[in-house]
């Protein structure tokens, strides 16, 4: 029994619904952009500069690094942590829903050594995300960094990320706590100690499926929230970085 979260018709329905909201939100933004009639670009696209800028300033966020290492660490952790977890979830979804459980690769991933890789992967990127969120919370609400002006959408975005992160760890801990301890569980280097705590204090036990549903619901609502919030920059900012690099080339 590996007790990974299984998809249900309800989850599929919610996911489809979420994607529709996401697409409508994106369309609403593009609808407004298309009202602009002036010339967007004054030069031909320079793909080399665009790729270089995307690597340096979008993926590595070099400009931020030069400005402030703490801010860079925060953003870098949130960006890569979220991408790492998205890759983890996407991989699990493909393995669970599109591949036969009898395949040797499926067996390797869910019952063999592959699960150790998955456990390390999930906890590592979860931790990276959490570090980024923690820095963001400290900067914004404790140290009140001079440049920040907090409005409700800033708080909403950060709370979404925080709850996704916390419920993710909690899901993993409850999953492991529901099983007898086995040495491979140590690869969940955050989930395993939390699971031990839950085993020692049974009052902390929550039904694994309940917490994983909460985690899932928060995650999909967050996905739908993206185009209606400042989080939309995750799609748009890299485009602007690339276009600026191309225009600047000439």
């Amino acid at each position: 029994m590996h007790m990974y979260f299984k998809a249900t018709a309800l989850l599929y329905t919610l996911t489809v619904f979420t994607i529709i909201i996401l697409l409508v939100g994106i369309y609403a933004n593009i609808y407004l952009w298309r009202k602009g009639k002036a010339k967007s670009l004054h030069h031909k696209l320079h793909y080399g500069s665009m790729i270089k800028a995307l690597i340096l300033d979008a993926l590595l966020q070099a400009q931020l690094f030069k400005q402030n290492i703490v801010r860079w660490l925060m953003h870098f952790c949130i960006f890569w942590g979220f991408l790492g977890l998205l890759a983890h979830t996407t991989f699990l979804a493909i393995m669970s829903h599109f591949l036969s459980p009898n395949l040797s690769f499926t067996q390797y991933i869910f019952l063999g050594p592959g699960r150790q890789i998955l456990d390390v992967w999930g906890d590592l990127w979860g931790l990276i995300l959490f570090i980024g969120i923690a820095i963001a919370l400290l900067r914004r609400y404790i140290f009140k960094a001079e440049q920040l002006d907090t409005i409700s959408s800033d708080t909403t975005a950060i709370l979404f990320l925080l709850f996704i992160s916390l419920t993710g760890f909690l899901s993993e801990a409850q999953r492991l706590a529901a099983l007898d301890f086995e040495p491979y569980m140590r690869y969940s280097f955050i989930g395993c100690p939390l699971a031990s705590l839950i085993r020692s204090m049974p009052s902390l036990t929550i039904n694994y499926y309940s917490i994983v549903w909460i985690h899932t619901l928060i995650s999909i609502v967050f996905l739908a929230f993206i185009p209606f919030s400042k989080m939309f920059h995750v799609f748009v900012s890299p485009v602007e970085i690339a276009l600026d690099a191309s225009e600047k080339k000439d």
Binding site: Y27, A28, N29, Y31, L32, W33, R34, K35, G36, K37, A38, K39, S40, L41, H42, D57, Q61, Q63, L64, Q67, R71, A145, E146, Q147, L148, D149, I151, D154, K230, F232, H233, V236, S237, V239, E240, I241, L243, D244, A245, E247
Partner: protein
């Protein structure tokens, strides 16, 4: 679909008439798709607010680039967004729009926000095009700025001076024997180089030595040059920065006039004219000549041996990067190179230089719209210059010259404001009494 939208806008505009509290519809045709996308690209990180010279003096969130982007996005989403189309437009109050307009113009368009923006939003072009939309809607610019614009439209210069006075500086300089003769009129007799004097250099008596210096230098090097005389018109920078669509007409007319004259190089001592003609004009029409700032041309003259810097100029100077020459045009090394070529000059850099140079606050209509803020911005820059221990504050823009003088006077500073051409003249001539003091 767009026709329907225009009908809706027309209906709304008609509906606006009796409701004084409702803002007019802002036409966003002036913006590009990319610029509207840029409003969504802002991460609200606030780096811009740490560097904005206006915000440094007036701590209002609304004037930060982040604040302006959000406020404008809220307004146009309410007026043009998909939800407005489906469910009807929520009311945007005139008070809200007026506040946005006031905040939009509390900006010197110095481009510092672009330099520090992690996602590289092309802020200044965005503000300029938003200003166009605001002017189109009859909501801008600010009252004091309207005089400058009206003057450009009526007299081809922002200083309310008659066209016939444009060459007064040359006539007076010739009479006082500061220059050998008035520059030739390039519209009558061809020349290789056009010296575009610019309105500030031509009309402001405090700054006109920049033009006189330039003529002296060009004469000393034996350059075949001319000016447009009284036929020179404002480059239109004032209109472009403040969002007036008349800029397009002026730019087209100037481009045609320039291209028809057949000169190979245009030089100008004004960073604002330089930026406008070199970088903004090509968006309107093709130029068949090269555009250089005077100081770049002077370096060419020195390096080709046509101009000899024979005198030692023993001065401790600090250099102020004009925004339109630096951040807007990336000319950072040339002025420093020229200063180092002048014998005896000791250049001491300020704490903030080059891409992060503080603005003098004079550009973008800020000086006319918010003179108190400009004064404070200028004072901050002057204090920074004083900290270097230099005795001379050097720049390469008549507008910065005016803007920084405000701070020097307010602080009763011992610094002497100089245009870079002033130092070159000292190095080529024995007498220096004509220098701008």
């Amino acid at each position: 679909m767009e026709d329907q939208d225009k009908k809706l806008e027309k209906t709304e505009t008609a509906e606006n008439t009796p409701d004084d509290t409702k803002a007019p519809i802002i036409n966003i045709d002036n913006l590009s798709m990319r610029q509207l996308m840029e409003l969504d690209a802002c991460t609200r990180c606030g780096e811009c607010s740490l560097w904005c010279p206006a915000y440094e003096q007036d701590k209002k969130e609304g004037i930060t680039p982040r604040g302006r982007a959000k406020a404008f996005k809220d307004i146009i989403k309410a007026q043009h967004g998909l939800w407005a189309k489906i469910f009807g437009r929520p009311k945007v109050t005139k008070e809200k729009l007026d506040q946005f307009v006031a905040d939009l113009y509390e900006c010197s368009t110095c481009r510092q926000c672009y330099e520090v923006c992690p996602v590289k939003i092309d802020t200044v072009e965005l503000w300029e095009n938003i200003r166009r939309s605001i002017v189109d809607a009859g909501c801008g610019p600010l009252e004091p700025q309207k005089n400058l614009i009206q003057s450009v439209k009526s007299y081809d210069n922002p200083w309310g001076q008659p066209r016939s006075s444009r060459t007064r500086w040359a006539k007076v300089a010739k009479r006082k024997k500061k220059i050998a003769g008035e520059p030739k009129d390039i519209t009558r007799k061809k020349a290789d180089v056009l010296y575009f004097v610019g309105c500030t250099g031509a009309y402001d008596v405090n700054v006109e030595p920049v033009a006189i210096n330039t003529v002296k230098i060009l004469d000393a090097a034996g350059t075949d040059f001319g000016t447009l005389g009284t036929k020179e018109k404002c480059c239109g920078s004032v209109l472009l920065r403040m969002g007036d669509n008349e800029y397009d007409r002026i730019a087209k007319e100037n481009i045609k006039q320039f291209n028809d004259l057949g000169f190979t190089t245009m030089i100008t001592s004004c960073a604002g004219c330089f930026k406008t003609i070199k970088h903004d004009y090509p968006k309107t029409g093709k130029l068949n000549f090269e555009v250089k700032h005077t100081l770049e041309f002077i370096i060419d003259l020195i390096e080709s041996g046509k101009l000899k810097l024979k005198n030692e100029v023993k001065m401790k100077v600090t250099y102020h990067d004009p925004c339109h020459l630096g951040r807007h045009s990336s000319v950072y090394d040339a002025p420093r190179k020229l200063l180092n070529l002048i014998p005896g000059i000791e250049l001491i850099e300020m704490e903030r230089t080059r891409e992060n140079s503080r603005c003098c606050g004079a550009g973008g209509g800020l000086k006319s719209g918010y003179p108190d803020i400009q004064n404070k911005i200028s004072q901050t820059r002057i204090k920074e210059a004083e900290e270097t221990g230099a005795t001379e504050l050097v720049s390469a823009c008549p507008f910065c010259y005016q803007g920084l003088q405000v701070g020097i006077q307010a602080l009763d500073s011992k610094l002497t404001m100089r245009d870079i051409t002033d130092l070159v003249v000292m190095a080529i001539e024995d007498k220096t009494e004509d220098s701008i003091q």
